[in-house]
């Protein structure tokens, strides 16, 4: 009984994480931001959901642990490959995320002189 309650709570948390990750795919402005939403949130949601199914059926726990381990190993590697490919191809980052302190300093100093 207690295992069923734990599994249900884990599956609800996982559905919230998966939905927020997929909504971030639609909403964020750039490849790198989208990649961050995709890999972090979706990997955590998938891990929690598969372990939650293992809690609901305790005799399936070993196989669900194997599937969760495979996802946990392969998903960051593929997302790293996508990020490296888009960086080597020359996809520009979104202009709101680039921090250039020296340019800001020069602008500030030139306005102060006048």
């Amino acid at each position: 009984m207690i295992l069923t309650i734990i599994g249900a709570i884990l599956i609800l948390i996982s559905s919230a994480f998966l939905f927020l990750g997929a909504f971030g795919i639609y909403r964020l402005p750039d490849v790198y931001n989208r990649l961050q939403a995709a890999t972090k949130s979706t990997t955590l949601g998938a891990f929690i959901g598969i372990i939650g199914v293992g809690f609901l059926k305790p005799e399936w726990f070993l196989k669900t642990l194997i599937i969760a381990g495979f996802l946990f190993l392969t998903n960051p590697v593929s997302s790293h490959a996508i990020g490296r490919a888009s960086c080597l191809r020359g996809v520009k980052p979104y202009s709101g995320t680039v921090v250039n302190k020296t340019q800001e300093f020069e602008e500030c100093r030139s306005t102060k002189k006048e």
Binding site: L12, I25, R34, T43, I50, I82
Partner: protein, 85 residues
């Protein structure tokens, strides 16, 4: 338990809709690849949960095969975009 199943199905299918929208209107090729990667992860979780919903032990093997083999496709497309295969 039935209500939780339908909540899970609703959220995952709306998430799949957002991923397909990103595949449709992504400006560059890596955007579409990110949408594809999200869709495969959502599908793996959906397959495991459908195995619980139908109450069959054998059905989980499909999710295991999919979790291993979708990795190969994504990495091969990423290596193609990078330049050398």
């Amino acid at each position: 338990m039935n209500i939780i199943s339908y909540i899970f199905f609703t959220f995952v299918i709306v998430g799949t809709f957002f991923a397909i929208l990103r595949i449709y209107l992504g400006p560059t090729a890596p955007d579409r690849l990110v949408g594809m990667s999200t869709m495969t992860t959502l599908t793996t979780v959906l397959l495991v949960f459908l195995g619980y919903f139908f109450n069959r032990y054998v059905y989980i093997d499909v999710a295991l095969v999919y979790a291993i083999l979708s990795y190969i496709g994504e990495v091969s497309i990423a290596r193609y975009l990078e330049g050398g295969i």
